[in-house]
Amino acid sequence: MKLRKTYTPYLFLVPALIFMGIFLFYPIVDVFRLSFTNYNMIQEASYVGNQNYQDLLNDPLFWKTLKNSFIYLIGVVPLLVILPIFIAILVNRKLKGIKWFRAAYYIPVVTSMVVVGIMWKWLYRGNGLLNYLLQTIGLINEPISWLTSTDYALYSVMAVTIWKGLGYYMVIYLAGLQSIPQDLYEVAQIDGANWWQKHLHITIPLLKPSILLVTILSSIAAMKVFTEVYVMTKGGPINSSKTLVFYIYEKAFENLNLGYAAAMGFVLFVIIFILSFINFKVLGQE
């Protein structure tokens, strides 16, 4: 009787583990194996040792795209961790019609990134709506080359990722806010705390688990960015908005150099793993 009790939970885990084994763990191991070959999808792969790894160390575009991916990380993650907290606080009131606001913030999340990318591509055009608005209200004199300047293209794409992700993380924080007891705020009110102090000393510390989750999710998402780049700039102009994942895609499916792409993919995997580990260490402790 006792034996069966301890086995049952594990039995429930088995189907998910098998699924993950086939579609997650096995591909990761296989990509690692592929990175030591010159596989091109059509012919038999042959072993090339660590040539791919040596090549990527000497590949200026690998370093440039890695740098772009890190800029993406540093630019997007803090905003996607902090801003949604305040949006969640704002929509957490029991005002009439507040549900419409929550839905409005969530609509970008459920819209296809391809559609979002095309839409923003039009907004960002030289004679597009954004430049028109900014010029009309007098903020700028000349139109800005949002997507066609090597200085701005990457940041313009990042802005779209942030815009689309806000609602997603807002919902995570909303859920976290529900578990904060209201009397804590009442006590703080009595003690004379203002809005800012209340949230700084009560909400944010108690949201720590959500903040950890959002940081990890948004970090991984930022490192894996592909669709927005593909739809809006194709990594241009002059590779200024090319992220590592986009470069991997190009190497794998345009140049059919899957061995090299696998090597870069594996390096990316290790980086994300280390980032997540650091996240846990820094934010996981109490």
């Binding site: 091109n40 999808m41 059509i42 012919q43 055009r125 030289g126 004679n127 080359s145 997507l147 066609t148 300047s149 090597t150 293209a153 700039t233 194709k234 241009g236 102009p237 002059i238 590779n239 190009e250 499916f253 345009e254 140049n255 059919l256």
Partner: protein, 418 residues
Amino acid sequence: MSKKLITLTLLVVFLFTMSSIGLAQEKQIEFWTMQLKPTFTDYINGVISDFEEENPNIDVKWVDVPWADMEKKILAATAANNAPDVANLNVPFSMKLAELDALVDMDANLSDDVKDRYFPTVWKANTYEGETHAIPWYLSTSVTMYNETIFENAGLNPDNPPQNYWELLEMGRQIKEKTGKFIFLPPIAETGRYMEYMVREGIPLMNDDGTAAFNTEKSVEFLQLWARMYEERLIPEETVTEGHNAAVDFYQSGQAAILLTGPQFLSRIEENAPEIFEKTRVAPEISGSAQKVGVAVMNIAVLEQTEYKDASLKFAAYITNNENQLEFCKLVNILPSTKKAAQAPYFTEIDPNSVKDKAKKVSAEQLERAENLVPPIENQSQLNEVINQMVQNALLGKKSPKEAISDAETEWNNIMSN
């Protein structure tokens, strides 16, 4: 009771065996096309059923794939040993597969009288190192579409459309000054298309040994032309990151005076921007100093992985024959790759008031002179990227045209020597 059961079981097994033997006589070939449904569903089904009637033991299964997905799907299918038998591909992609020996050589496997049907210049579009890895199917030559109202407003004569790239600088300036519009969006910063422009201008692409040959004074002047047009914003700033789709966009929305594309796009303009369609006129494609005309080739290839090579070759030859191609051309503004079909009166007897008809006539007339401008080269996608970067750097002023071309030459030679 059990005796009856045994007899019944034996009968069922017998029937199953007989039917599977019958099925085994049938050769099933899988045929993939690029985005022909739903517009051409009836046509293709018609060709397939005619073929199956003439060849009762061959069964053709038709799969239509969205344009953008074709490459990935075929690669994935080939890797999984599940490739189609016959596939409709475009030239760059079939070249990619041919480089990896994935396609059947048509030169070696088709009879001379079949091969003779096709225009030799177009047949060569798929020839690489002595092997031709696909049969040319339907073609498209680009025409110049232009907005006569923008021309008139700019003080330009709509009866006198530009014929070569060098005219576009002055025309562009006039259009910008009088109307504020762009002259057009040249898709020169993506997919290596600038190579076609260079060939039209008469600039050599590469030497016999594969090394770069485009670093010439003329080439610098040519790139300088586009850099100047970009600087003066005669062409939109989006030229540097966007391509043909944006070119159609800008024309359709009335922001650009000219569009260089295949006549089939007139239907799209008619649907999306009827007022622009009303003002659209057509002329032969704008070319460069070498007056060359390009042709976009869609082809039919047979994959090496096929189990039924003869049946696949038969089907490939059938769908690209004169009658079937002419019928296809009557449904949409494309051109046949076979000589006899191209001579049909359908292409010359037109309604002079219909701009679509006029486009058909102009594009058909160009067919004789047309050639696949950029021959199949290995490492095509990497070389395309080199050219893309060269153009982007020159347009944005990050490098002078001379420097950009010189750097591109070095990278090209690096890639070819690896």
